[in-house]
Subunit: 352 residues, 4 copies
């Protein structure tokens, strides 16, 4: 007997994260339309190639090599392993996703995550430079893990954004020390859509050796698009995805979804709706005297809240504990997404 | 501008493999129906739990631990790594998928694949016993990789099937030598649906320490259901999936698909249609004097064909080269699937 | 033509480290005496067993399992890999040898080093407790590396010592959180010989799941003795040493050396001479107004020195740069060892 | 109380292996002579450099990069890992040491050992060619492990030898398919000393990308000299040895030993004595009607022996079981070495 899905829907509006719903309706439409087509496997089909071409155009890198993987941790582990020599480590914010929240996936593949200090998720070119200079200056340098790559997230785990000039400085320090630069764009749609953002897709492609355009959190059922702007950056990356268990037999499926996401500007437009909702909510939070941890330019909102308020609010709205702030207060997080509705926002604003 | 998908459809009926089309219509229906629901991530949602319960019932293991992963190589690498001690290897048919066609994914995770001789993809309890006795008898045994697990595919890479008694013998030899037993069911639907099969899902759950029920090749967009019939078989398997990059943030998606596949017997019935088509095709091949490599009980057909015939037939139908047979002949493979239509079969029969 | 080794000897007294000379004369004597004996390989010979028995007695653990490995990094990587589950990490001082100076050997074997704050190389039970409580309290704990082991060095990289009660507290917190405790005794002889030390070998064996007694820095040509006080702590450790490349074919050689080191109290007595030299040097340094970074209880001395003094002193004595202290001053390190002679000490004191 | 080593000496002459005794007397002499010298660590001392220069001269590769590691399995794992890309495997005889007797050390480091058929331990250029052609021809090649390196042993595990022309053919096929060539010379002294050998050290250096000159089985207490004839073959190999746990702090020790081994032709002369003993023993075995598995050109002798004869002979002489030959017969192995004495040989010949 068929499952009664309706009965399983959450009863409260949710601001827990941006991977709570399925796919954007236009993405589902493309999946439905192509569903019974027969095409070759492993991403060698014409729809995946169309999607890759759309992305090449969007990032202004006509020769970019593009691969569709399933999820973020998998993508980070696969790309970082592919970009590093076996004896190298990856520099990351101490609060970076790969440093904290991927259960040791980078280390499982043999590489150390070298932590850098960060402010609201962002590292600086200066801290990379200091690390590398110390590394080079150390007499015992051959006993220390050699940095080979800088990892940044954009937006960061705190929803903050790198400016174009900050990224250019990071590129500069990477060039100075022979490092590669890799950008994790799990939530990239929400970054691109922010009015504070001045870092475009072509900028990212120009400045990074590799980056990924997030699908899972940005409107797809799953899937991340790995982009190597310069061809030949990683020889045999296809084979590497296979041995990492990251190659999908039905490679077409993410291809179809990214084709839809990069048709008629959907990717940026779905981000825009979410960021606008986030800004509206923050406006009201500020008006009502809530204390923001900081004003977030994207779809993640961090609020310092009395523990009692937090608990009471949870009865009506789903959102998440982030961290203890002090004895009596908690940092909580609200996340909007492409699937956040007017009704959701209204319900939230109503109880503030 | 929207992509014209129709123009991209293959022009010829295809028998290349069972991962050419999207998902079974009933699976797509469930995805569409649930698409805008908001539920918790990482497989902790109620739909995934419903799917797990349906599988627990189908395999008669009410306490089974079940996890949904994305693809076959990922699943094999994750489960085998989880079941083995770091110093153990996995016994597999020398032609087993993990031995040949996974680009070294098992070795990437630190384990040797110990090859056993096979006949049409099948290994025997006797060959496992011989290996283990030699291993134990060897004076230098501590310098040799200790076998920790037996890996079988059902159906095998040749579409052949283990009988229940063969699996019971494998279980017996595993018990005798302290080995675990793991069954790769990438094409399990086509095995369960074969009239020659006497190995039921409950049998598999009773005899194996772990197995997976294939989704990618059996009607899902992607996804494999890992089943540990006895709870506690692998502590912290959830964490292991995370560090292997195999944990999906939108864990609900494969949950929905397996819920549909295990509703009203869909999983077995979609296999049945494919196997019936395969049998009909083999009947006609035999009638017309083609030489089968052997009569296949499932959805993969192997034919020894003159090179010229092969090339000519390829002009009208898509199917695959398997191996050179001799100077002038080739072994080719035809695969039927849940998406094979009456028209496809008619087109193939028409040119035989 | 034979090499003229004499011509290659350093011209200056050296205080660079404790691995500059060969083996203690009594160790060489044992190697010479046994040199042409034929015995079985891989540590299965009777001399190695005698050495193991001497160590079992010295640590008061009559059933201890003991293995001789070649060097410190190898030993740490092998023991830590053997003690951890594949999904676990190891807690270490942020300045711990495994965290900084082993070129990523732990990560190469798949495990994250989880850094704890330290003071002069020492961590506290309290910091372990805080880490574990935070880890457990985090809602997303399954995405974070699970700590499985606490790693300490004794003496530490700064020559400091854990007291017995500090180690008992560490054992307590390990028990509370299901962690193992491992002590790296690369310089253990110099710790045991310190008048400030109250942690005996039997204490270490009682409190730790594993530890190693350093040979390389403490009088052997090479070699570390791994001790698992409780038998069965790591099944198949012999096999693990083999696959880690840590099993010596001529396992007898370190066996002979540890037999000599644990005969008639040689191990502690050679440490004593070095620590006494270190104390004498520190006395004079203090008298002459040099600024010690802290008074060291063992064989490593850290002095804050004007850059000019440092350079000038280097002309007459070999010792090492440790770190920049400020604009004009450097922290330098003097190390005494079993091979430090009266003449070496006199030469150093002479130029202070 | 000092151990009575004499009482621990084996009572029977031994032909078990070539790692039963300590070091050649001239090697011990050098260790004794240099013992109390103070020199820099990690192989940066002048004696190690002298040893490297002696080897550079012996192999006619004045720019060769040379590193001293501790043992054979460690050396194979380190060099092979360093030479391969992460997605590549190593072609080896199915009976090769890395394939069978290293407990999965290569796989532990992430690489598959790709087995080739062999005859008495030797592979052929032709079998490498067939493997590579099949690999390239396979449509699904990206799912198969790419071969990156050919591994040979010289002498092989059966004591057999590659001729210069066979090695030139292997080099040729490696060049044709972009493979590297690596020679494991664990018993190289016994190969170089064989009258059947026409492969010189300069030949090996000219034909191989890397090789190692065995010390452990050829007169050293331990130690293998890794030679990369062309500089730059492996960037940062020093760092790789560190992260593999293969870097010795007292790097001078193997340096001293290899210095002695490559002084005045010691390395070849100690091999010659062992091979002559082996030939004399084989002459007598043949005279007395024993059945050799084949006539061995080096220091390993394989005899097919009645089980009863084997057991009886074991009462007087130590040697090893190799394999069952048939119901009533066993293949046994006698190994001579630099430490085999006239008395040992006489005792063996006496009981034949």
């Amino acid at each position: 007997m068929k499952t009664d899905y309706k009965a399983m829907a959450g009863q409260k509006p949710t601001f827990c994260s941006d991977y709570m719903a399925g796919a954007h309706p236009k993405v589902m439409e493309a999946l439905n339309e192509t569903n019974l087509m027969n095409t070759a496997g492993y991403g060698t089909d014409p729809i995946s190639e169309t999607a890759r071409n759309r992305i090449r155009e969007a990032v202004s890198a006509p020769e970019a090599e593009i691969f569709f993987l399933a999820g973020g941790t998998q993508t980070n582990a696969t790309v970082i392993t592919a970009l590093l020599q076996p004896y190298q480590g990856v520099l990351s914010s101490v609060e970076g996703h790969i440093s904290v929240h991927e259960a040791g996936a980078i280390e499982h593949n043999g590489h150390k995550v070298l932590p850098l200090p960060c402010e609201r998720g962002k590292i600086t070119a200066e801290s990379v430079r200091r690390y590398c200079e110390h590394y080079r200056g150390d007499e015992a340098w051959d006993h220390i893990v050699m940095p080979g790559l800088v990892y940044v997230t954009h937006p960061t785990e705190y929803g903050t954004l790198y400016s174009r000039s900050e990224m250019e400085e990071l590129r500069k320090v990477c060039d100075d020390f022979g490092l590669k630069l890799y950008l994790d764009g799990a939530r990239l749609a929400y970054g691109l859509a922010s009015s504070e953002n001045d870092l475009t897709l072509p900028d990212i492609a120009r400045l990074c050796d590799a980056f990924y355009i997030g699908g899972t959190k940005c409107g797809a059922l799953f899937g991340e698009a790995v982009v190597f702007p310069k061809p030949g950056t990683v020889p045999h990356f296809f084979m590497i995805t296979k041995l990492m268990g990251a190659l999908l037999a039905k490679g077409r499926i993410p291809g179809v979804m990214f084709d839809a996401l990069f048709t008629d500007g959907l990717y940026e437009s779905l981000g825009k709706a979410a960021v606008e909702a986030s800004q509206r909510i923050q406006d009201v939070l500020e008006e009502k005297g809530y204390e923001l941890l900081f004003r977030s330019p994207t779809n993640q909102i961090f609020v310092i809240m009395e523990d009692g308020t937090f608990k009471k609010m949870l009865e009506k709205i789903d959102f998440e504990y982030w961290d203890k702030y002090d004895e009596s207060r908690t940092v909580v997080r609200f996340v909007t997404s492409w699937s956040t509705t007017e009704e959701d926002v209204a319900a939230l604003l109503n109880i503030l």
